[in-house]
């Protein structure tokens, strides 16, 4: 097995999981909600895109757009069901986390009821072509995945930096209480945040379905991977998540190369635990101050 081949694989997958990691990270730091319903968002967007491809159009751009829109919709649903009723209640963090877990349970069972256990596959977004770069053959879907997720990340970061809504979200990240005092609506910001992060999850779903299938319980692995990356990078930090995604991608590639595929999760978790024992709030998380909620 060629190490570069494994490396490109790892980077491709890390891009997708990185999207979810950043979504988890942004939601936690701005809303204080540990959203474990990204598995639901992921599957919802996947099935939405599949329905779109079946009934309306198979054009790649439209398909990706449909996935993103469905992801945003799922994010808004989670926000309406969990964040808005719960955000001012006692034990919000615990209850919010359990509620998102309940949504993922309900979601996967409803997908099982509506679509059945058989996996669905999406049409190819990027066609079939290959590029030879430094002696490594890169397939179209890998390049497409990396480009798309980088583009999405770039757009989201630009939007967070440059727009009025982004300013509101960053204010919420700094101090939610003060933000609400100066007139930033907690609920409206919650809807923006969940829509944007849901859109990231939706894109990740469409991109990952290039490699895997869409099945009712397939949201779990991306969720776990995304959450681990977010943890390792530090909740609330975008660059930390990027660093962690690359680090864990490398670990995955190296483990695949030297130890074998079944040890991937183990080495990854050892790395995560090692990182967290040294820096309890992740690679670039702030050391002593967590988000007060």
């Amino acid at each position: 097995m060629d190490v570069f081949f494994v490396l490109t694989n790892a980077i491709t997958v890390a891009c997708i999981y990185g999207l979810i990691a950043i979504a988890v990270s942004i939601t936690w730091s701005s809303l204080g909600l540990i959203n474990l319903a990204y598995g639901f968002v992921f599957t919802f967007a996947g099935y939405g895109a599949w329905l779109f491809a079946e009934h309306i159009s198979e054009m790649p751009v439209l398909l990706a757009g449909a996935g993103i829109a469905m992801g945003a919709l799922a994010g808004i649903i989670v926000c309406l069901v969990v964040f808005i009723p719960l955000h001012d209640k006692p034990n919000f963090t615990t209850r919010g986390m359990i509620a998102t877990l309940a949504i993922s349970l309900i979601g996967s069972q409803s997908f099982l009821m509506f679509f059945g256990p058989r996996p669905k596959s999406l049409p190819d977004l990027f066609g079939f072509w290959t590029v030879d770069m430094f002696g490594v053959t890169l397939t179209s879907d890998k390049i497409g995945i990396v480009l798309c997720s980088t583009l999405m990340l770039f757009v989201v970061v630009r939007w967070m930096r440059g727009s009025r809504r982004g300013l509101e979200i960053r204010a919420m990240m700094m101090n939610p209480h003060a933000a609400s005092i100066v007139g930033i609506g907690v609920r409206s910001t919650g809807i923006y945040v969940m829509a944007v992060t849901g859109a990231m999850g939706g894109l990740a779903s469409v991109l990952l379905s290039q490699t895997y299938y869409i099945a009712p319980f397939n949201g779990l692995t991306p969720l776990i991977k995304g959450v681990s990356i977010a943890l390792c990078g530090g909740l609330g930090s975008v660059q930390g998540a990027v660093i962690a995604a690359i680090l864990l991608g490398l670990v995955e590639a190296l483990t695949n190369e030297f130890l074998g595929g079944q040890y991937v999760l183990m080495t990854q978790f050892l790395v995560i635990i090692a990182v967290l024992v040294v820096r309890p709030r992740g690679i670039s998380g702030l050391l002593d101050k967590a988000r007060e909620q």
Binding site: M97, L105, M113, M266, I272
Partner: protein
């Protein structure tokens, strides 16, 4: 002006007129003066509807005797009482009574007796299903009670409890299959595995707080699942690892096997409940009740070593979970991979969330509900898990702490509503705002304002065109009772902003001025209107005061 309807037609006769010494009008059309005491009673009366107060006696009260109060049943050999009983005296009859302060042991006893007798009353058609479900209930309730110790008592949000159980079950099954380890050793080996596992995952718990740890343990669970399902030693092909030694002999009658399984699981549940009681109700639990989340620094300052207590509980509970894992393997002759699945963790969390996190009764009730939905209503299909999810979501959205938190939440809600109702019933005279009233040191000021308001309201009713006309005709001298009362009130007004007449020349004209009320500050001229005679001036001042009264 107030309506003068029934007040007209009344003529006041100056009592001094017949003596020929009267100043003022000999007679004037005026208004009858109502009794001010009626207004006083109406305003100061207590009109709020009152209800019977106190609480219903919803607890059983036994008669008592002073001697017998000290003669209690105790847990041998300690001096602990069987029940937390207090002696009280009836406040009406002064008869000595006994009251049980904490009735939960009685409820626990009743529930446990019901659980023990339940197999006798299961309907014959459902006997097998219910016994199987009861066995699963016993084991899962035991796991959840231990998990409650970790999440509730130790406040370590670990989602890896099922991973500990599963690992212990897999390893012990594998040992039993490979080396023929007998069943009675499996729980002990499981405990050792739980100890090792607990030590390993307690290490990050020392450093990470709350939700970082939850997410990490969620990942650990997934790690275990992937490891065990992909490794060949643990039967990756067959969906589980089976063939371990068991205390349930296969030669027995299937019904006997079910019964033995049920009561073994029941004993396991009793064991974990006693562990819960031993940890949560004794020193460790009390130490940690001193150090709830976000108050750790305070507890530490008081000398509570909460970290050590948490880790001790975590490790002891991990040992117990390992024991349960070994027991599980010995009960079912092995274990399936589904113990590691995300859905198992979700269902477990649903059990805790439905019953209420942090309470043993919550864990047991939640397990009962979820296991009943999951294992008894088998023909409902995938909607069962949907229902469990919906229950979990509803419990989290509407209840602060699950089913057993309802009472506290309801009482808090009722107190809030009572406060709201009380505040809507409260009479507001407009004399002083509540916050102003609490800030004022001289409470006489408040009573004076209240009295003044009552008086002004009363006098407003007396202001009619008749008395204004009477005053216009003769500002000085004897007046009718209505006008006299109004004038007396005006004369008694405070000096600041009190009106007076200013004479511009030796014979007028007159202008209305108002005193400043403080020495050395000259009065101000109220307006430019001029009055030719002093009587017109008096009437002008009177009209101005009437105007101020009606405006206030």
């Amino acid at each position: 002006m107030t309506e003068p309807t029934e007040k007209s037609g009344y003529t006041w006769i100056n009592p001094l007129a017949s003596w020929g010494t009267a100043t003022g009008n000999p007679a004037a059309p005026s208004v009858p003066v109502p009794d001010i005491r009626e207004d006083w009673d109406r305003v100061t009366g207590y009109k709020v509807p009152t209800y019977l107060v106190g609480r219903l006696k919803h607890y059983v009260i036994w008669s008592n005797h002073g001697d017998r109060l000290w003669n209690r049943t105790r847990w041998w050999p300690t001096r602990r009482n069987l029940l937390h009983v207090t002696g009280i005296y009836n406040r009406k009859t002064a008869i000595a009574e006994k009251k049980i302060l904490d009735r939960r042991p009685i409820y626990w006893l009743i529930c446990m007796v019901l659980l023990a007798l339940a197999p006798l009353v299961f309907p014959a058609s459902m006997q097998n299903t219910l016994l199987t479900a009861g066995t699963i209930f016993g084991i899962f309730a035991a796991i959840n009670v231990c998990w409650t110790l970790i999440i509730g008592t130790a406040s370590i949000f670990s989602l890896a409890s099922y991973a500990v159980v599963g690992t212990a079950a897999f390893l012990t099954s594998w040992l039993s299959i490979t080396y023929g380890v007998p069943w009675y050793v499996l729980p002990l080996i499981g405990s050792a595995i739980g100890l090792v596992f607990g030590l390993a995952i307690a290490l990050p718990a020392l450093r990470l707080d709350g939700f970082y740890y939850a997410l990490l343990t969620l990942g650990l669970n997934e790690l275990c699942r992937v490891f065990f399902t992909t490794s060949k030693e643990f039967g990756s092909a067959s969906g589980g690892l089976y063939g371990a030694d068991s205390f349930i002999r296969e030669s027995w009658d299937p019904m006997v096997q079910s019964y033995v399984g049920y009561y073994a699981a029941f004993a396991l549940l009793l064991g974990s409940l006693s562990l819960f009681r031993l940890i949560n109700g004794k020193r460790l639990g009390r130490v940690l009740r001193m150090a709830p989340e976000k108050r750790e620094a305070f507890a530490a300052a008081c000398g509570v070593d909460y970290k050590r207590a948490r880790i001790v509980i975590f490790i002891v509970t991990s040992v117990a979970l390992g024991f349960i894992g070994g027991f599980y393997a010995a009960q079912y002759r092995g274990v399936a991979f589904s113990i590691f699945s995300f859905d198992t963790v979700l269902l477990g969390l649903a059990m805790l969330a439905i019953g209420g996190i942090g309470k043993a009764e919550g864990a047991v009730l939640g397990t009962l509900v979820v296991v009943f939905l999951d294992k008894v209503l088998l023909e409902w299909g995938p909607i069962r898990h949907f229902l469990v999810g919906a229950l979990m979501l509803a419990a989290v959205l509407f209840l602060n702490n699950g089913y057993f938190g309802i009472k506290k939440q309801f009482n808090a809600w009722r107190d809030k509503k009572r406060g709201e109702w009380r505040s809507t019933r409260t009479e507001k005279g407009g004399e002083a705002l509540p916050e102003e009233a609490t800030e004022t040191n001289d409470k006489d000021q408040l009573y004076f304002r209240r009295f003044d308001k009552i008086q002004r309201d009363y006098l407003k009713k007396l202001i009619t065109p008749e008395i204004i006309e009477e005053h216009r005709r003769q500002p000085l001298g004897q007046h009718s009772e209505a006008l006299e009362r109004v004038l007396l009130y005006f004369r008694r007004a405070k000096l600041e902003d009190k009106y007076a007449l200013h004479r511009a020349g030796p014979h007028g004209p007159y202008k209305i001025i108002a005193f400043s009320g403080s020495r050395g500050v000259s009065p101000r001229i109220v307006d430019d209107r001029e009055f030719a005679t002093v009587d017109e001036g008096y009437h002008g001042v009177f009209m101005r005061r009437v105007h101020d009264l009606m405006e206030s």
